[in-house]
């Protein structure tokens, strides 16, 4: 009786934790199977414990090359999308002008469009313009789909900021450039950082749009996709686990820094 009462009272907690387990289960499997020594080409069944893959993470041809290519594209796409997106966000949050509704819908549409549709149409354009697929077409596509997410993140932050802070700076004889650098930018920074982080993750992980616009260039997700047919090396699990660990550490550090700043 007591047990059923307890379960009934904590039903939400139990269901929520169940969902969390569902979300994290693949990560656990990826971690465990990074220590596997598979018999054949496919790393789907547990054979025996080994740390080989961890000591030779680049032991598979093309894997680390595709990884560094993806990192390079993600960095450039993040820079491009963050700069362009922040400018649009400031224009939308700070100014009233006639084209605002049109601009807002142009920003919203790429987020509401299935990726295949965007991917196929951009590839059709490149194909007909005779542009060779490769690094540049991937970068152009990535900046295109990351842009809207940056605008949304930065706009939310700038909208919630008190315009009187900037007026105060101007009243204290700060030049517009000084006001921007010393007041506006620091306040908008968390929004810009969130947008940049999101673009990095989206670009690094994108498969669908890249698959249509990469030609024979192989990014990391495309390497993983190809390896699913040819036989997945254990090293993929190593990299998946390392990415998860780096992400968790980054977010934890960010939280600690944020908490300390709030206290001081």
């Amino acid at each position: 009786m007591a047990l059923t009462r307890w379960i009934r009272r904590n039903l939400v907690v139990l269901a929520g934790l169940g969902t969390l387990a569902y979300l994290l289960l693949p990560n656990v499997v990826v971690l465990v199977f990074s220590f596997n020594k598979p018999n054949g080409r496919f790393n789907y069944a547990w054979q025996r414990f080994s740390t080989d893959a961890w000591t030779h993470p680049c032991g598979v041809a093309d894997l680390c090359g595709s990884l560094s290519l993806s990192l390079k594209i993600a960095v450039w796409a993040t820079i491009g999308a963050t700069v362009l997106g922040t400018m649009i966000a400031f224009a939308l949050a700070r100014y009233r002008f006639r084209a605002r509704p049109a601009v807002n819908s142009l920003i919203f549409l790429p987020m509401a469009m299935p990726e295949v549709v965007m991917a196929a149409s951009l590839a059709t354009l490149f194909l007909n313009m005779g542009v060779g697929f490769g690094f540049w077409t991937i970068l152009i596509a990535h900046i295109m789909f990351c842009l809207s997410f940056v605008v949304t993140a930065v706009k939310a932050r700038v909208m919630s900021m008190d315009p009187r802070l900037e007026q105060a700076a101007q009243d204290l004889y700060a030049s517009p450039a000084q006001t921007f650098a010393r007041v506006t930018l620091p306040i908008a920074a968390p929004g810009i950082a969130a947008g940049a982080l999101l673009s990095f993750a989206l670009s690094f992980d994108d498969f669908i749009i890249t698959n249509f616009n990469a030609g024979s260039t192989v990014t990391f997700p495309m390497f993983v996709w190809g390896s699913a047919q040819r036989g997945t090396p254990v090293q993929i699990n190593v990299i998946g686990t390392a990415m998860f660990a780096v992400a968790v550490v980054c977010v934890l550090v960010g939280q600690l820094v944020g908490a300390r700043r709030k206290r001081s």
Partner: protein, 303 residues
């Protein structure tokens, strides 16, 4: 507003004009990028869908509208399957995601940040790697299939036609499971955002008025979280309907969705008009469904 007022105060008219142009200069590069690499390709795609020809001879616009009809009559099973799978995954995401979003928003206390991190962190591991992990989890003779089999769940699901024999991989169940898994964070985050905004005192007030927890949820919490529900279902349904990764990795040829068809028409068959027509039909179908959904759910301010 303050900006324009300050501009009006400056004596030089030239300065005022320059200030009025500031937003346009800020917008120019980014909007140009979207127009050239997002909007123009869609227009171009529309013209491709009414072209005929071949890769060797080149394609010409011949206003060949029957490509649409041919594509639709050849691939309507994949269309229907996409809508069905995506809708099922969306409902499952809502059912699974709501308790977790609720838990983080109201019951987590000092664990809130940690739980949030655990929801977001999988985002940063390659989703293809995580989807491949489901192949291991659901593998034939694996623990999940073993447990479901011994509980006779697989007999029931096989009877319903969502699994086959004693296996889960390469069945509709596996594909829907993968879709649900992959898009779950897109449901949880908007749900959490809208739940977090709800004033906790409303719950107390409902309790003071002798509402049972279930009644409080039904009459107070859920209606107030509707913006999150609408945003979450859209963010889940739209990408799920166009996805081809889950069907490819976890399904078989019997579970192909429309994304798989577009992909193979474009990248393997090189039949660009058909690929263009198919992606336009997908876009139109989604647009129509989303419009109806937003109308009926009554939050038109969303779009």
């Amino acid at each position: 507003m303050s900006v324009s007022r300050r501009a009006a105060r400056t004596p030089l008219r030239e300065n005022a004009v320059r200030k009025r142009l500031v937003p346009y200069w800020l917008l120019l590069p980014g909007i140009l990028w979207l127009l050239v690499f997002f909007a123009a390709p869609l227009v171009y795609q529309a013209s491709t869908s009414v072209q005929t020809g071949s890769l060797e001879e080149g394609f010409k616009v011949t206003w060949h509208f029957s490509t649409y009809w041919d594509a639709l009559s050849a691939y309507y099973p994949q269309f229907l399957r996409s809508v069905l799978y995506a809708a099922t995954a969306t409902v499952l995401c809502l059912l699974l995601g709501y308790p977790l979003a609720y838990l983080i928003a109201f019951r987590a206390g000092r664990w809130r940040n940690l739980l949030m991190i655990l929801v977001i962190a999988p985002f940063f591991t390659s989703f293809l790697i995580r989807t491949l992990a489901w192949k291991t989890i659901l593998s034939d003779g694996g623990p999940v299939v073993g447990a479901l089999g011994s509980l006779h769940v697989l007999d029931v699901t096989a009877h319903l036609g969502i699994t086959e024999g004693q296996r889960v991989l390469a069945t509709p169940l596996a594909v829907v499971c993968g879709l649900t898994y992959n898009f779950l964070p897109f449901m949880i985050l908007p749900l959490y955002t809208s739940l977090e905004r709800i004033d906790g005192r409303l719950h107390e007030a409902a309790g003071d008025l002798y509402a049972r927890p279930v009644t409080t949820f039904r009459k107070v919490t859920f209606p107030l979280s509707m913006p999150g529900v609408v945003a979450g279902t859209l963010l889940t349904f739209i990408p799920a309907a166009g996805d081809y990764i889950n069907a490819e990795l976890l399904g078989s040829t019997d579970q192909k969705m429309i994304g798989n068809v577009v992909q193979s028409q474009f990248l393997r068959v090189l039949d660009y008009p058909t690929a263009a027509a198919l992606s336009f039909i997908l876009m139109a179908a989604i647009l129509a469904m989303v419009t109806v959904y937003i109308r009926t759910s009554g939050t038109e301010d969303l779009v």
